[in-house]
């Protein structure tokens, strides 16, 4: 028994996570990627997940957008069975069916804290309120927060 890090591919790990959720467990999942910036950071933060019951626009969810491909993004809208998602750090959207929503986020552990930032809590709700309303400015805000050369300007 060692205190090592095991990296498991998403398409292997996440079906297992979904199975555990269906058994009634909650799951704490370390997060990878930059698509939920600025609140969540790659390799730093964790999400506490539960089996989804009723989901609504504004919720952060784990969704299987194509078979084997999962995202943890925010729901922009639900029209009948059609769900539109967008990562907080993204401009583009994804789409899936309501039945492809595999988990709801109940909260996040950020910056190594043991204290859960609940998605019912003031911090997440205030952040969500502002950040989703700032969508028209998002491109500029993200660039100001994370200066980088956009991919389209990089030589192939």
């Amino acid at each position: 028994m060692t205190k090592d890090t095991i990296e498991i591919a998403n398409n292997v790990l996440l079906p297992e996570v979904v199975r555990l959720l269906e058994e009634g467990h909650t799951v704490t999942l370390p997060l990878r990627g930059y698509s939920m910036r600025p609140f969540l950071e790659d390799n730093r933060d964790k999400a506490l997940l539960i089996k989804p019951e009723t989901v609504k626009a504004g919720d952060a969810v784990l969704a299987e957008i194509t078979p084997g491909r999962y995202v943890l993004h925010r729901i922009v809208s639900i029209k009948v069975q059609e769900v539109t998602l967008r990562g907080d750090g993204n401009i583009a959207t994804e789409h899936c069916r309501l039945s492809d929503v595999r988990a709801t986020v109940i909260g996040f552990y950020r910056k190594g804290s043991q204290q859960l930032d609940s998605t019912d809590g003031m911090k997440w709700r205030l952040y969500s309120w502002w950040w989703t309303r700032l969508l028209p400015l998002r491109r500029f805000l993200l660039f100001a927060l994370y200066p980088h050369v956009p991919k389209r300007f990089l030589k192939k």
């Binding site: 028994m1 095991i6 498991i8 292997v12 790990l13 297992e16 996570v17 555990l20 009634g24 467990h25 909650t26 799951v27 704490t28 999942l29 370390p30 964790k46 506490l48």
Partner: protein, 90 residues
């Protein structure tokens, strides 16, 4: 010592992992994974109401070609680690 109630060995993503049964949280950021021989010892240990480091040593000698001193040392290490991880209790 004895295996803590509710802790169960299962295979997750090909790893032998100890998880708590019931409605408990499974934390993928600090999962307790056992290698092949530790998993073997766990399966033996959970069949008994209590066990000792000597039992672990005996099971290692039954299954693996190791000398007694090595088995003794490994058994002691495993017993200590399980206690530290909170999956067994004195």
């Amino acid at each position: 010592m004895k295996v803590k109630k509710g802790f169960r060995l299962r295979t997750i993503c090909g790893e032998n992992v100890i998880v708590a049964e019931g409605l408990e949280n499974i934390d993928f950021s600090k999962i307790i994974s056992l290698n092949e021989s530790a998993a073997y010892l766990w399966r033996k240990a959970e069949e008994l109401p209590t066990f000792t480091a000597d039992d672990l040593k005996g099971w290692l000698l039954d299954e693996y070609e190791v000398d007694e001193a090595t088995a003794q040392a490994d058994a002691q290490t495993v017993a200590t680690q399980w206690l530290e991880a909170g999956i067994t209790e004195p």
